[in-house]
Amino acid sequence: MLVAACVGEIGPSTGDATGIDPEVAASDYAPTPLAIRLNDQQYVHAVEDVLGVTLTADERQKLPRDIPAEAHYATSAEGQFFNPQYVIAYAEIARSVTARLSPAQLRQSFGACEESTPTCRDAFTRGLGRRLYRRPLSDDEVLDYAGLAIGVEDLPEADFDDGVIAITQALLQAPDFLYRLENETHGTPDTIRPVSGYELASRLSFFLWQSCPDDALLDFAATVPEGGAVDKEALTAQVNRMMADPRYDRSRDAFWSDYTLVSTAPFAYAEPDVQEELRHSMLTTMARLSGVDADPGPILDMFTADELWMTPAVAQYAGATSTKDGMASYVSGELEERLGITTHPSFLGAIGTTSFVGRGVFMSQRILCIDIAAPPSDEDAFNRIQETVADTEELTPREASEFRFNLEPQCQGCHQVFEPIAYAFERFDLSGQYTPTDEDGRALYTDGELPEVKYQPAITFDDAQELMTQLRDTERVGRCLVQNMMEYAIGHDVGRAQDAIGKAHTSFDEGTFDDLVRAVALSPQLRAQKVVTP
């Protein structure tokens, strides 16, 4: 089984080579390929979608959970763990799922045949294999699976159906299913090449559906000429079709879950049932602002949204004058000092700290994509940090922050950039409740000035509402949202690909959430790959 088979050796490409994809050729950035394992959610979706089964709670529990690395996404290669428990889970799930499947039905569904013949079995193998591998199987691969089936059928008391089940179990544990594999070495090392049609289909489906491609997408993949320009109109039609599919909701929720940190936040201050409500409230808000059951506005308006969704318990954190039944929307006048998602109690609670450093680092990274270096860690620096902690122990948080601004350049340079954004939220406590004074009764202040950085002018503000209203209109915030979506889609940190981000930002045109997704899905980066050394 050769990855090389993805390009050229398997599945005749029906298109004609028409020259290299010009957008890819002009691209200055392409992701370095890496065998990214389907994360736990993608695996569940893929098995369920392709086989038409629903995994039981016990089966889901077998899978170790994939947790995004700090400030990344669960779709990212960065920090993806390999736990040996996965191989046990994959085998056990394959066995228990296939025990619920009818071999005859499998042949019918994937081979369009019912008879117990080698021809029908091979048709089944090609059909199911194409869906799970996201490409056609080579003749050798089909032969290997036939060998597996024949070996099983030859056992005493075994029959033809046992062979079909064995093939299904093996396909569900195959590397071509469990890993997103591309031909990484096809071409001159360090050059950029267009991915094959099937590689593109796989990228699109795990981006837009968190799952395997369907037949229609694979049919489209077969029309993409090897190394040639993709039919942009046909590609756009596929992207639009996928975004109109209910499976698209998964991708939206998965993105916002990691973006807002609610996917992993412990919400340690809340009771367990309220912890779930905090997550649900955030995702409902993001879904509504993204255009679910509502007329979507520009997605960047999320930073100044006048309407937030929450359950009664969460609304109490937001200082609601009165709560409503179930999940409900609240406008600013019904809540205390709220405007935009950054004042949603779930957003603030998920950050999990009130410190200017903690909140400032997260907000600066997530909203402004500021690249913050790790603090210096030599012994002198460490001692200096200790001294600073001691020197600021009796100061208010704001005084301590300003003290840090006057430290030596290697410290102040970063702190001056990332701390001020958190000033605006000083009156929101750990759980996102509005508290104008600290525990000693001293007034808290929400004014400040954000220094100028590229694509964002200096901003003076009196409170969070004023800050976010001004930030929303800066190019930096729009570009940063594109950068987040691109990492989510591609699975790699794209912070250094500013030209690519700029082009996708132009295409996004600061439109709706769907415009953002479409801009990234149609960007050349989704179709490009950096060739690596064998």
Binding site: G79, T264, P266
Partner: protein, 465 residues
């Protein structure tokens, strides 16, 4: 501790494990067949040098039952291994690998494999026979910052292995779950078929992974390393997934009943946790119940020879867990609740230095790790020694005092008589402890080959030659 007492030690935990006599190791195993086991144990922050000098009268008091089988190293400097200075992610990432991180350090990659992986590969290059889980990582931690702060298992290429499992019932499932006892008597034909299918499928799958890591594929080296990790796990799990007639997946052991997670232990659900006041909180007694249960389950796994390699952790680098409740030790009492109400041990007793509180807090932390040691020590094996005597346990932490990697306590427990117990004050780095401990088993740690600057130091009097 007697075997029954071991399990009764679970206190109020609802535990349904049978008594250990029913779980005795395979009777067929002769004394010289006892396998090598290696476990690493770590805890966050560290114990100050002067508290180490208190020996068993300070935070290390819980080691009292094991002092005759433990070598303590009180002058170990982790600084040379910290590629990016001594922030938590850097010092933590070199624990048990013995080499600095690659590329100047990051939170995602270590400089090489951890020692239990080194030993596993050296002894069982084609997979560990019979075990249930090739290696297991378990304990209690909260995630803050880079993953290396709680990752203790590093693959051969230095990529992260399993996250430590925090939930006792999942530790149990990992070791005892999904078992298929050897067929006896006249099995049903369909059962025979099912097992043959399992074997055939596994062989087919392993062939595919093998082909992908060959030179004939279109994958780069980093992707191949990921596939190789998967293949290694398949090899290790082979006898669990598809036991052959020659393998003895359980031998004479009986699968114990499924235990119950301690009441109120929802800690394991917090996938990520900030530090400071937002860090997850847990009653210390509930945490202790969980650690006790995890230690017992792992020990039973060892006694049944279902588990040979693993890591055990009590609080990751930085110590970002807020413990609650009044804890009594060393003749005094510490109110964790008020102390950690709005901050973690990292914030409240290290950054805002409070030596007296550190002394009691680390007593609590160390005690949790000794539950596993106690459980191992409660199992007598065919050579008349305990499972602890017959295992190698490497213990380490990130710092000495505060965030200084000098005097970061290390210890070696067990070792089958290969080491001399005692208190060692020779100047060392962690690599020396790891390298010499494995050398005593005839295993090359690989540290000198991976870290050209490393010159091993002989630890005077350590090896029992």
């Amino acid at each position: 501790m007697g075997r029954r007492a071991l399990l009764r030690g679970a206190g109020s935990i609802a535990i349904a494990l049978p008594f250990l006599p029913e779980l005795m190791p395979r009777t067929a195993r002769a004394q010289d067949m006892l396998p090598m086991r290696l476990f690493t144990m770590s805890f966050g922050l560290g114990i100050e040098h002067d508290m180490q000098l208190e020996e068993l009268n300070g935070p290390l008091a819980s080691f009292t039952p094991f002092v005759g089988k433990t070598a303590f190293f009180r002058n170990v400097d982790g600084g040379p291994l910290a590629a990016a200075g001594t922030p938590h992610f850097s010092t933590s990432a070199s624990l048990f690998t013995g080499v600095p991180q690659q590329d100047g350090g990051s939170g995602y990659h270590a400089g090489g494999p951890s020692m239990e992986i080194v030993a596993k590969q050296a002894l069982h290059p084609n997979g560990v026979p019979n075990v249930s889980v090739p290696e297991l990582s378990a304990g209690l931690w909260s995630r803050t910052g880079a993953d290396s702060q709680f990752t203790r298992q590093w693959n051969p290429d230095g990529s992260p292995g399993a996250r430590p499992e925090r939930r006792p019932t999942r530790v149990f499932d990992a070791i005892f779950g999904g078992y298929e006892p050897p067929l006896t008597g006249d099995p049903e034909p369909q059962e025979l078929v099912r097992r043959h299918v399992n074997r055939s499928v596994l062989d087919s799958v392993m062939d595919q992974y093998s082909a992908l890591v060959s030179d004939r594929t279109g994958l780069g080296s980093e992707s191949k390393a990921r596939i190789e990790n998967h293949l290694a796990a398949l090899r290790d799990a082979e006898n669990r997934l598809a036991p052959t007639e020659g393998s003895m997946p359980l031998g004479d052991c009986t699968v114990p009943g499924t235990p119950t997670d301690p009441s109120g232990y929802s800690f394991y659900d917090a996938a990520s946790g900030p530090t400071g006041a937002g860090a997850p909180a847990i009653e210390w007694s509930v945490a202790e119940s969980a650690m006790q249960l995890i230690g017992q389950i792992m020990a039973i796994g060892v006694s049944c020879d279902l588990l040979r390699f693993g890591s055990h952790i009590m609080v990751g680098g930085g110590g970002h867990v807020r413990f609650m409740g009044n804890y009594n030790a060393l003749g005094t009492s510490l109110d964790f609740t008020s102390l950690f109400d709005n901050g973690t041990p990292h914030d409240k007793i290290v950054h805002q230095y409070d030596g007296a509180a550190i002394r009691i807090y680390q007593h609590f932390v160390i005690k949790q790790l000794t539950h596993f040691l106690a459980a191992l020590d409660g199992i007598t094996e065919v050579n008349g020694q305990t499972a602890l005597d017959n295992s190698l346990v490497l213990i380490g932490t990130e710092y000495g005092k505060n965030h200084d990697a000098a005097h970061s306590l290390h210890a070696v427990v067990g070792g089958g008589g290969r080491f001399n117990p005692g208190w060692y004050d020779q100047a060392l780095i962690p690599s020396d402890v790891y390298h010499q401990s494995l050398a005593a088993y005839g295993i090359d740690s690989g540290i000198p080959a991976r870290w050209a600057a490393y010159a091993p130091t002989e630890i005077s009097g350590f090896r029992n030659t």
